[in-house]
């Protein structure tokens, strides 16, 4: 009797094992198309773009003769690309800072057990459902230097040229360009922040909701005022969220294209130009494919610096 049961359970296990392996094969089989697609269309194509960037293909007719780093040397000596790097740097810094600061303020305001919370939340979130093209079109009209908010600002004695301003502040000679904050970029930052803060508000709000009330109470018992509770207790708890927000926003701003293309274009003296716009124009308007590919590779490397460590650390966290 006892032996029989053991025997049976043994057969059951072996049968189960065999069917598991078969199902495992099936599972992997279902995954293979996606692996192949990502392998070819992401990694293979990146490799191909890398190869094009080292080739001589700067006309309509493909020419894959190898020219080494020629296209990259050309770019880094190019006025427009130098301006792009400067613009991207300052756009990214201003954009990320604003998204974090505004996002945190809005999240804290929304977290005060207010009435109509979902209404306010939706007002801050809805721009995220819009296209950057729509945002660009609308803000181009709003920040038009001869109109828009300037009608108000002019009354206050402030007159801004917004995205048509060609000032670089402070203009420090660097390579072929003046290095500093391109004032015209501020207009683009405002539009981008309007569209994207919803993301950081959502993240911070989720974070704030996750802080147990006892933690705040304990700090208050120790005599901390509300400001100190936020600064010393809540902010450190939210730090991982800030890291996520910085990385997500950085990768968006490093590859930004449609907002600027729709709102301002490259601008006079390329004050609002970015690599995404340059890549598009030089490749698809000018047929400088190799130059375009080189710009794309620089963009990819810039994004990878942020994303690869981030993905790597998320992966380890799961083990």
């Amino acid at each position: 009797m006892e032996t029989e049961t053991t025997m049976r359970s043994v057969t059951v296990t072996t049968r189960k094992k065999r069917s598991l392996t078969k199902d495992h094969m099936l599972a992997i089989g279902f995954l293979i198309p996606s692996i192949l697609l990502v392998g070819v269309f992401v990694y293979g194509f990146i490799g191909w773009t890398g190869y094009v960037s080292l080739s001589n293909w700067n006309s309509l007719v493909p020419d894959f003769s190898f020219v080494g780093l020629k296209n990259y040397l050309y770019l880094f000596g190019d006025f427009r690309f130098q301006a792009d790097l400067r613009n991207t740097l300052f756009f990214t810094i201003m954009f990320i800072l604003a998204v974090i600061v505004v996002g945190q303020i809005l999240a804290i305001l929304l977290d005060q057990k207010i009435q109509q919370e979902s209404l306010f939340r939706n007002i801050f979130f809805f721009p995220m459902a819009l296209s950057f093209v729509v945002t660009g079109v609308v803000w181009q009209w709003l920040l038009n230097p001869s109109t828009g908010v300037n009608l108000f600002l002019a009354k206050l004695g402030l007159d801004s040229k917004w995205y048509t301003d060609t000032t670089i502040f402070p203009a420090i000679g660097w390579g072929k360009i003046e290095f500093g904050i391109p004032i015209a970029m501020i207009a683009v930052v405002i539009a981008a922040v309007w569209q994207m803060t919803g993301f950081s508000v959502a993240m911070y709000l989720a974070g704030l909701r996750g802080v147990p009330e006892e933690v705040r109470e304990a700090a208050r018992m120790d005599g901390a005022n509300e400001f100190q509770v936020y600064w010393k207790i809540i902010m450190p708890i939210l730090r991982p969220i800030t890291v996520s927000v910085i990385i997500i926003m950085a990768h968006i701003s490093l590859k930004i294209f449609d907002l600027i293309y729709a709102m301002t274009g490259p601008g006079a003296n390329f004050v609002t130009d970015v690599p995404g716009v340059y890549m598009y124009e030089t490749t698809f308007r000018g047929n400088y494919y190799a130059n375009g590919a080189a710009i794309a590779v620089v963009m990819l490397l810039a994004v990878a610096i942020f994303i690869i460590p981030y993905l790597w650390s998320s992966r380890k966290g799961e083990a």
């Binding site: 279902f30 009209w141 995404g276 993905l311």
Partner: protein
């Protein structure tokens, strides 16, 4: 929990002021789109129209209607296909883990962060080769392929919350790989499908770079057509604004009615689910 030192009126005043800032573009968009052209002057920009004029809408609609239709032809199949693919991938990567599954997932995930400029030149060459360049079908294909990372991520995180014990007991009852998917995962992941579908719908509808480089003239989705409106000689701002509103309407409606799921998708996209 509330900031006690904050007096309530100041709190609400701040929130209302900030809300005005966020709603300002919508206000200007709506009033401008309802004005006749002669009232669309820079100095009258903030004033309400003296009379309602819907001619900008009919003009914008005539110009954008074919492209709006293109966008629907693009978004619907692309959303469905990428949700299906993502759910299968997410199922395998969360419930049928094999050696190296996590590393493979990370490698797939990288694809959602790349600037698409870095694959665009070979992609267009490829689409020309297979005859899908300048077609909605080509765009559908592109969005399904490049949607794999994000949809896989969302479903994988979603399926991680379904307890393994349920799957084990289904397996003991004789369900295999497909049975478990069909009878356990799919019925339990309706929310997951809604979140992913809304996310993909919104993103593909709003996408511009692929649309502007892969299609020309009559094949273009609405965002490219909207951008082209401003490229014409004289910018008719009332028509522009009406066009922007029309182009934004589908995703805006989705947000208004299903915003909760949209925000879920948003948070899911930040990798750590």
């Amino acid at each position: 929990m509330a900031i006690r030192s904050f007096t309530r009126p100041i709190l609400y005043a701040l929130l209302i002021a900030l809300s005005c800032f966020y709603l300002m573009p919508v206000y200007v968009m709506i009033i401008t789109s309802l004005k006749p052209l002669e009232e669309v002057t820079l100095s009258q920009m903030w004033q309400l129209p003296t009379s309602l004029d819907f001619s900008s809408y009919s003009e914008a609609f005539t110009k954008l209607a074919p492209n709006l239709l293109n966008s629907f032809y693009l978004v619907i199949p692309a959303t469905l296909l990428s949700a299906l693919l993502g759910s299968l991938n997410g199922y395998v990567l969360s419930k049928w883990k094999f050696k190296g599954a996590n590393t493979l997932f990370t490698i797939i995930l990288f694809g959602m962060f790349i600037p698409y400029q870095s694959i665009l030149i070979p992609l267009i060459q490829f689409l020309r080769e297979i005859g899908l360049y300048n077609s909605i079908a080509g765009l559908v294909f592109v969005h399904v392929v490049y949607g794999i990372p994000i949809t896989t991520l969302m479903f994988r995180n979603f399926y991680a919350s379904i307890p393994d014990s349920m799957i084990e007991s289904a397996k003991i009852d004789g369900a295999g790989f497909i049975g478990v998917y069909r009878f356990i995962m799919v019925p339990l992941s309706i929310t997951g499908f809604v979140v992913v579908a809304i996310w993909q719908f919104t993103n593909i509808w709003n996408e511009f770079l692929f649309a502007v480089t892969i299609t020309t003239s009559d094949q273009q989705p609405v965002m490219v057509a909207l951008q082209n409106l401003s490229g014409s000689q004289i910018v008719q701002w009332n028509v522009q604004m009406a066009g922007a509103l029309l182009a934004a309407l589908p995703t805006l409606l989705v947000y208004i009615f299903l915003g909760k799921f949209f925000v879920k998708g948003l948070l899911a996209g930040s990798v750590k689910g």
